[in-house]
């Protein structure tokens, strides 16, 4: 059962529904439609350009990133053999009997003046840093042949417990070993398996 209010609402709803539809001319409608379609065409045209421009932009950013990487990191990878991650067969092969860091000689080597391949020869390594640097560590020397890449264990890992007799530090560390081939050899000194430094010697032979 509808009450009086509901009946009044029916009338009111009818009144609302009878409110006129304001005049919206076909011409006005077509004008708006024309503007919209024109706008969409423009938008589509813009998008046709936007996509390639976006791709080019991304390409440029990528190129820039590669360039930055090359500038910042490649020199690090290309620097002469001095880092512990560098392969011993790469880098500078200039003959040098001493190893320096920051203009400070860390050690030098004095080989037998008659050093040739195929025979054992004696070497004296003279380490310059304080004994604490070497104390309690295992010192090893490996030799790398430039031409063949062959690796020789010249000095097996040896625990350093005392300075050289009569010296404050390891100033006379001697070793004897033979190298199988003539040519350039890099002698890499390691402390506890970590590269400490290297020297390059020319080994004579037949």
């Amino acid at each position: 059962m509808k009450n009086q209010n509901d009946h009044n609402f029916d009338e009111l709803i009818d009144e609302l529904g009878s409110l006129p539809d304001p005049d919206y001319t076909k011409q006005a409608q077509d004008n708006i439609h024309h503007n919209l379609m024109h706008d969409m065409d423009k938008k589509n045209k813009d998008n046709k350009w936007k996509l390639p421009v976006k791709k080019i932009g991304l390409g440029m950013v990528g190129l820039l990133a590669v360039l930055l990487f090359s500038i910042l990191y490649l020199p690090y990878f290309q620097q002469p053999f001095s880092g512990e991650n560098e392969s011993p067969t790469e880098g500078d092969w200039e003959v040098s009997t001493e190893y320096t860091e920051d203009d400070k000689v860390l050690f030098d080597v004095s080989p037998d003046p008659n050093l040739t391949s195929g025979k054992p020869f004696g070497y004296t390594f003279s380490f310059k840093e304080q004994f604490e640097t070497y104390e309690g560590k295992e010192l090893a020397v490996y030799a790398y042949h430039k031409t063949s890449g062959e690796k020789i264990t010249a000095v097996q890992p040896t625990l350093i417990s005392e300075p050289s007799p009569g010296y404050q530090t390891l100033e006379r560390f001697t070793a004897t070993f033979d190298l199988p081939s003539k040519g350039l050899w890099r002698y890499v000194v390691e402390l506890d398996g970590i590269r400490y430094g290297d020297v390059v010697l020319q080994v004579g032979g037949d």
């Binding site: 009111l12 009144e15 409110l19 539809d21 304001p22 409608q29 919209l36 969409m40």
Partner: protein, 170 residues
């Protein structure tokens, strides 16, 4: 892209008349052609994000409502620049003559003035449900209310309208 264009064109001819009428009643202004255009501009811009969950009709009416609200606020700001008036910012000002709306009867004029004097929620539901005769579900979609709220608010709006109309008729 061509599909989007066809879609907008199709929707325009299907719904722009209803949207035109709605905007006239909602804003109280007879000059709403730019607003209709704005509704469809916004639809073009938002087409990529239109997920099809709402039917195009209610989606477009939803946009039209926001365009209408923006327009009312704009008009209010312009009005405030010229006069120091205080009132509801969302309340539209009737700048149409009865002839503009073809409100030939005094009764219709009073009814429309009464609608515009009501609070926003009531105006929304009276125009959509009462004047544009949209279904409860459609109004629910446009206003983002549940259907029960649409029914209750419509009922309360009718009650308020009747009261104001009675007062204006005296």
């Amino acid at each position: 892209m061509e599909t989007d264009k066809n879609k907008i064109s199709e929707w325009f001819y299907m719904y722009s008349t209803d949207i035109y009428h709605y905007l006239i009643y909602f804003t109280g202004s007879h000059d709403v052609e730019d607003l209709v255009q704005e509704v469809f501009y916004r639809a073009i811009k938002g087409l990529d994000s239109y997920d099809g969950r709402a039917v195009p009709k209610t989606w477009l009416f939803g946009i039209a409502r926001h365009v209408g609200i923006d327009e009312i606020r704009k008009q209010k700001r312009l009005h405030l620049k010229h006069t120091l008036s205080f009132g509801n910012e969302d309340e539209p000002k009737l700048d149409m003559t009865p002839e503009d709306l073809c409100l030939i009867s005094e009764k219709q004029e009073i009814l429309y003035k009464a609608i515009l004097s009501l609070k926003k929620n009531y105006r929304d539901v009276l125009i959509l449900r009462g004047i544009k005769d949209l279904t409860v579900t459609e109004v629910s979609d446009i206003l983002g209310w549940n259907e029960n709220k649409v029914r209750i608010t419509f009922h309360r709006a009718l009650k308020a309208l009747q009261k104001v109309k009675g007062r204006l008729s005296q």
